[in-house]
Structure formats: structure tokens, C-alpha cells
């Protein structure tokens, strides 16, 4: 704001985003100011470098994958709409979902969509299956460099062994949901709480 030639968010846009994602007015404005502060190029979109400039994200093992999740297939820039759409996955689940129009599409922050988001972070090639190699990659990122490949391999094998019910040695989305059943609770509860400023 002020001397910066940043685009102000128009009321109609705020309303649209509110309808689409369910964020409140103040949350949208707050996130917009965050968006503009990240947008060093001031062109209304974020690139991967803008994200990578966030220091804590650099040391996060899943940093790259999270960044990729913001960018739709094949694109290198994400505008504010896309930014909000991704973040909407992390809103708390609403209890009045049941009252909604059954023909309307599921809200972005439903339980299934949250799990789908997490699943897609594992499943890079989007074939709806987590293969052993994809699992190995994730494990490698989380565990660091000191552990040998064999150890990780056995952990990956064990993980797939536990979760795989149809014997294809990959984890499908349904198996993912069942295997992390207790974690289901966590993904529903451990969501981003944006304090209304």
C-alpha cells in the first residue's frame, strides 16, 4: 500500500473469493497483503522463486513439493485466486456442510479434499497411486542423508506392506485413507487457524 503500485483488491473480487473458498473478509485481506509482500516482482502473480525466498520453507523437507502444489499443471505463475484456492484446503471443516445443497460441489476444505491434497503431495506423477519409489523419495526427504538406501527401502516396504490391501504394492487413495485412519483425525483437526486480525 502507499507508494507501491500494488493492485488493490476490489470488493467484487473479495466476494467471489469468499464464495469460492469460504474465507472471511478479514482473512482474505490479510492473506492478500501477505501475497503482495511475497510478490517482489509486483506483477500480481507469484513465481516459484518468490516462494523459495521464504527462509523457513527452504529448510522444510517438503518445501519444494508444497510450492509445486500451488502451481497448476505446467504453469509457472500463480495469481491470488489460485493462491487462495490452494490455501482453502486448510480451513477448518465446517459442521454445516451437511445442510448444503447436495448437488453443489464439495467445498475445498472437506475431509476428502484435504486428504486428496496430501495424497497428491506424495503422488508426483498423478497416477493415483503411491509407488514404492515415490514413497522412497518422500522418506528420503524427511529423514535426511545419513540413512542408507537399504534402511529406507525396508521402511518403505514395511509401509506398503501395512497399507496395501489389494496386493499391487502401491498405495491407492482408498488404501491411503484407511492406512492413515487415525491420522484422519489429525488432518481434520490440525488445520491452519487464521486469527482474525
Amino acid at each position: 500500500m502507499g507508494s507501491r503500485a500494488s493492485r488493490l483488491l476490489r470488493e467484487e473480487e473479495i466476494e467471489e473469493i469468499k464464495k469460492e473458498t469460504g474465507f472471511s473478509h478479514s482473512q482474505i485481506t490479510r492473506l492478500y497483503s501477505r501475497f503482495t509482500s511475497l510478490d517482489k516482482g509486483e506483477n500480481g502473480t507469484l513465481s516459484r522463486e518468490d516462494f523459495q525466498r521464504i527462509p523457513e520453507l527452504a529448510i522444510n523437507p517438503l518445501g519444494d513439493r508444497i510450492i509445486n502444489a500451488f502451481f497448476p499443471e505446467g504453469e509457472d505463475q500463480v495469481n491470488f485466486r489460485g493462491f487462495m484456492r490452494t490455501l482453502a484446503h486448510f480451513r477448518p471443516i465446517e459442521d454445516n456442510e451437511k445442510n448444503k445443497n447436495p448437488s453443489a460441489t464439495e467445498p475445498l476444505n472437506s475431509r476428502t479434499n484435504k486428504l486428496l491434497f496430501a495424497f497428491r503431495l506424495y503422488d508426483l506423477d498423478r497416477d493415483d497411486k503411491i509407488s514404492r519409489d515415490e514413497l522412497l523419495q518422500v522418506l528420503r526427504m524427511m529423514v535426511g542423508v545419513n540413512i542408507s538406501d537399504e534402511q529406507l527401502g525396508s521402511i518403505a516396504d514395511r509401509t506398503i506392506q501395512e497399507a496395501d490391501t489389494n496386493g499391487d504394492s502401491c498405495i491407492s487413495f482408498n488404501e491411503f485413507i484407511k492406512a492413515s485412519f487415525v491420522v484422519n483425525i489429525h488432518i481434520c483437526t490440525v488445520v491452519l487457524v487464521l486469527v482474525n486480525i
Binding site: 508444497i66 483437526t189 491452519l192
Partner: protein, 751 residues
Amino acid sequence: MAPLRRSSTLRLTGLLCLSFLVFFSRGFASHDVVSEKSSGTIQEDSHSQANSTAHKKTFPVLSFNYEHVRTPFEISLWILLALFMKLGFHIIPTVSHIVPESCLLIFVGLLVGGIIKATGEQPPVLDSNLFFLYLLPPIILDAGYFLPMRSFTENIGTILMFAVVGTLWNVFFIGGMMYAVCQIDAAELAHVDLLSCLLFGSIISAVDPVSVLAVFEEIHINELLHILVFGESLLNDAVTVVLYHLFKEFAHEQTITVTGAILGVISFFVVSLGGVMVGVIYGIVGAFTSRFTSYSRVIEPLFVFLYSYMAYLSAEIFHLSGIMSLIACGVIMRPYVEANISHKSYTTVKYFLKMWSSVSDTLIFIFLGVSTVAGPHTWNWIFVIFTVIFCLVSRVLGVIGLTAFINKFRIVKLTKKDQFIIAYGGLRGAIAFSLGFLLDNDEIKNLFLTAIITVIFFTVFVQGMTIRPLVELLAVKKKKESKESINEEIHTQFLDHLLTGIEDICGHYGHHHWKDKLNRFNKTYVKRWLIAGERSTEPQLISFYNKMELKQAMMMVESGSAAKLPTIVSTVSIRNVPTKGAPKPSRAISKSREEEIRRLLRANLQKTRQRLRSYSRYELLNDPLEDNISEARFRKQREMERRMSHYLTVPANRQETPPVRKVFFQPEHKVYTYDDSESPRGRASPSCADDVSELKETPEKPDQSSTPRANRDAELKPKEQDDQGDQLKVSRCLSDPGPNPEDDEDSTFLP
């Protein structure tokens, strides 16, 4: 029929025990007479001896001197009574399904107290010193050490609100209302002033961890509610301590000053934070000590216990909150100590804590019953009834009010059902009684004690008994029997990273951000100081996985079956040793099929061995080599399995020599190694010793079949060298490493 007979036998035994106890308590009374007599005779004897040797005194073949073993004897008897009761309730399950154990124990206490009183004795009262110094710490330590940290920290805000604000509300509401009640002329309680009422309120309003644990343990409620009520009962100790001392001082002075009130508030922070700090200091020192305990493994559990107990006592010295100190010590110490101590020590710690807390808790309830019979009572209908009513009312109001406020900040809101259970689970217990007992001796004390006991009885009996059917009725979520799975661990960590990343993108410094920072700090600085050896750099996922594999391996050992091949291969590869011959596990066969195949193979192989044996008995020994080997091997396997299952439950030997030799049963299985040095020397029978020595590469003891042994050794040698590395690894994980690990391994070991 059989169970009935058993139960009637047990009732008989129970009655016999009770009667023994009664007779002994009678003996306590008459012991004075006896000891006097005995001392009289001794004096006489010495006198006569001194005087002249002419008096021939009879040498006392059998004398009775009860006096000098009296105290430990009585203590042991009480503990035995507690244990028999506990056993009895489990053998006769009918009653304990309806009535929680705590109620039954109080009832038994009432019975025993009644019997003792009926015989004219003064029943012992629950001495506050005994309670606070000896009976309470084990329970709190057990609870704190095994506190589920994740759910505790996730709900810490709610827990603190309930503990602090809720207790304060309870104190002032009950105190105030009771004062109002005392103003009623009909009650004849005009002598009870406001300060005394507030003091009473501060004693009675704290939720008691012992009772909560005892009752909630049996209803298996979901983890959230359990941690909320239990966490509240632990953390409200600080509030109770401060208010109790504060009002006691005020009641003494008979004035309330503003400075006093301000000092009270300051004192609250000092008490709680000071207690936590004392616990943290002891926890860190304990963790640091455990880094060096590899030199003497048997005393490891003692360090854990002593440091925690000292933390409690040190906090009590300064009137800080001992309970919070104990919890903080256990929580801080646990991750580092568990990474450092051996597996056997860990098991010892776990079982000793459970044992002590179980005995403590039983004793507390029994003594509560006995003290009820013993204590002088001043029964005032109005006071007691209104106390009970106001306790309930204030609890309900407090919970509802606080939940309405807390739910604004919670992600998972507390439903009405949850609120009801939290309110209903506010049980009072022995802490209230002991605090009341510490009051100065005057008429008000008896009045208060009677009311406290009534409230305790009401909460434990009525609420304790009805909470289970209510939980069923309201269909409250029960505890999920979650199997520990590697999937869960991976996904939990994955989600933690994900949410931390999202928080960073939003620029929001929330729960995850700080947790991540703490973890990073822990990993880079703290772990390096407090964890010995290579474990300090081990990622959490790896240690979790190792623990799981170890548990599975131990289960396999104890069930006497061969472990699954893929698991062992993975266990082997964990040790980071280049295993040249380790085959990749075949993915084609499922787990259960593999187990089937293994069972079939084993059964058939055994048959083969037996066939050989019977063959050798009736016919001339065609192949003496074969027979002896298979027979010896078979015997050895049985022996090793037997020793293995013993081995995992007996404490380690005092002297620990480095592992001498490895042994294996069947080369194709590559399952077990057995560390000779760990063989329980005391119980090795001569045949075992021979078996073991037979397999030594350099034989030290001669035995019958020297030629077959040499040949066999030659055949086994190349295989042995291959598996030497990994076999030792497996043995290492199942035994304690000696003080000087061999050079060709890294110093990794597992708790």
C-alpha cells in the same frame, strides 16, 4: 462349576486373610505385654548371669521378639492386604464389572477399619506425611512418564483453562456459598468464618488425579476427554497449593490484605513455574546421567526413579508444586533416557512404575476407608449436604462457562456430551482428605473432614459407578485401539511438515511453526548433549521403525516361532552393515502365506530330524556326524528358545563380558543369534553348558563327539563369517551391549 468353586475358595482365603490381619492387630495391642515380659526375662537373665553362674538359666531355644520387626511387618501386611484385594477383584469379575475398583477398595477399607475398631483398637489414619511423600509420587510419576505428549500439548490451552480458571471458580463459588450457608441460623455454624470457608473451598475443589485415573482407566474413554480431565487434575495442583497456603495464612492472621492477595497471585506463578523448572533441571540432569550408564546397566532404572523422586522432594522443600515438578521431570527425561538405556532397563522402568502406582493407588483407597472409620466426625447435615450440592453445581457451571469461552479458540469443539463427561469426571479424592487432615486441630477441622469424606465418597461411589453406564448411554466415543503403525508415523510427520510449510507461506506463526522450531532446536543442540553415541543423530522415524521391528522380533522370540524372513532382512539392513548375501524380500508372497510356508517347513524339518533320530536308535549309526549334529541342534534350539524367553525377562547379569561367540540353529534360517555372555549363568544346567561349549569355535571343554564337532565347525565357519556381522547385530539388539563393543561394529544399540 469350576469358577464358582474357585471363587468360593477365594472368598474363604479372603476371609482367612482378614481374620489373620485382625488377629495380628490384636497382637499389636498385646505386644506390649509380651515385650515387657520378654524384656523382663532378658533382664532377669543378664542379672542372674552377672550375679552368679550358679543360677542355671534355660537357653531360649525359641523366643518371641515382635517389637523390632513391628513397623516393616505391619507395612508388609497392609501391602499384602492391598494386593490380595486387587487379585480378588480380578478373579471374581462379577462385582467389578458394575462397581469400579476404587469403590470396592474403599469398602474393604471400611470393613477392615470396622473390624479393627470392633476389637477395641484405634485404626490407623491416613497420615498426610505418608500420603504425600510415599503414596502419591509413584502414581504421579507413572502418569507423567507415560503422558501422551502429543494430545497433551495439542490441548494444553484448554487444560490450563480448566485447571487454573476452573479451580479458582470452584474455590470461590464453594467458599462463598458455604459461607452463606453458614449464616443460616438453623445450621449452628456461625463460628465458621469466611476465611475458613474459603480454605475449605480450596481443599475440596481440586479434581483428584488418583481418583480420575482409577475411574477413567476402566471406562476406556476417548483420548481427548481422558487427557482433558486428567491433565486438569494434574495441573490444578499448583492452584491448590497456593490457595491452600494462602488461606491458611490468612485464616491464621484473620485478615485479608491487598498486598496479601497480590502476593498470592505472584506466588501462583512462582509455585507453578518454579515447580516446572525444578522438574526440568532434574530431568536434564537425569538425561545427561543416562548417557553414561552404559557402564552399569542394572542401575539404570534407579536413576530414573531417584531423579524424579528428588525432583518431587526438592519442589516440596520450597513449597513449590511437587506434582508439576514430577511431571515435568518425567516428560523431559523420557525421550533422552529411552534413547540411552537398554531395552531391559526400559521394561524394568515401565513395570516398576506400573507396579508401584498400582500398589499405591490400592493402598490409598483402602486407607481412605479405614480413616473414615477411625477419624473423629462432626456430622452436620446441612453443611455436608450443601457441600455436595455446591460441588456439583459449581463444577457444572464452571465447565459450561469455560467451554463456551474455549470453543472459540478450539478447532475441534467440545460437544455437550464432552462437557457432561468432563463435568461428571471431576472426582475428588485422597489429596483433599490429606490436605484437610493437615489443618490445625480444632472443631472446624472435624466438620470439614466429615464433609470432605462425604464428598469423596459421593464422587467415587456415585459418580464412579454411574459413569460407565452413562458413557454407554450417551454413546461417547471410546478409545480407539490404534495399532502402532509405520504408516501413521510417516503420515503424522508428513502432515506436520506440510502444515508448518503452509503456516510459513501465510506468514502465520502458529502452533506448527513453534513446534517445528522446538524440534529443530532439540535436534541440533539438545540431542547431541543428552544422547550417547550415534543415536543422537538418528531421525525420529528411524528410531520409531527400529522400536517397532524390535518389538516384533521379541514377540517372535517369545512365541517360539522363527521370525519372518523379510523382517529379519530389514532388521539386518538397518544396522548399516553391508550385507553381501542378504536377498531382497520377494514381494510376491503375502505375509500370511509366508507364515504358513514357514510353519510347514519347520514342521517338516522337525519331522526329518525326528526320523533321523529314531533311525539312529534302531539301526547302526550310518552317519554318526549327521545324527549327532541334528540331535544336538534340535536340543540347542529348544534350549536357546527357552533361555531366550527367560532372558528377556530376567535382569542382566552383574558382570557383562563382551559377546564371545555367536550361535545359530539352522544355517538356512539365519534367525537367532545368541550371545553366550548373556546366558544366565545361575541357571545353566550341565547339559546346556556342554551344548554351548560345543559350538565354540575354539573348544575349551572337551566333550564326547570331538570329530563331528570339528567337521561341523569347518562347515559352519564360512557361513558364520558371512553372518557374523549381522548376527551380532541382531543379538545386540536383544541383549545389552558390553562395555567394550567389538571393533568391527558401530556402537549403535537399541533401547
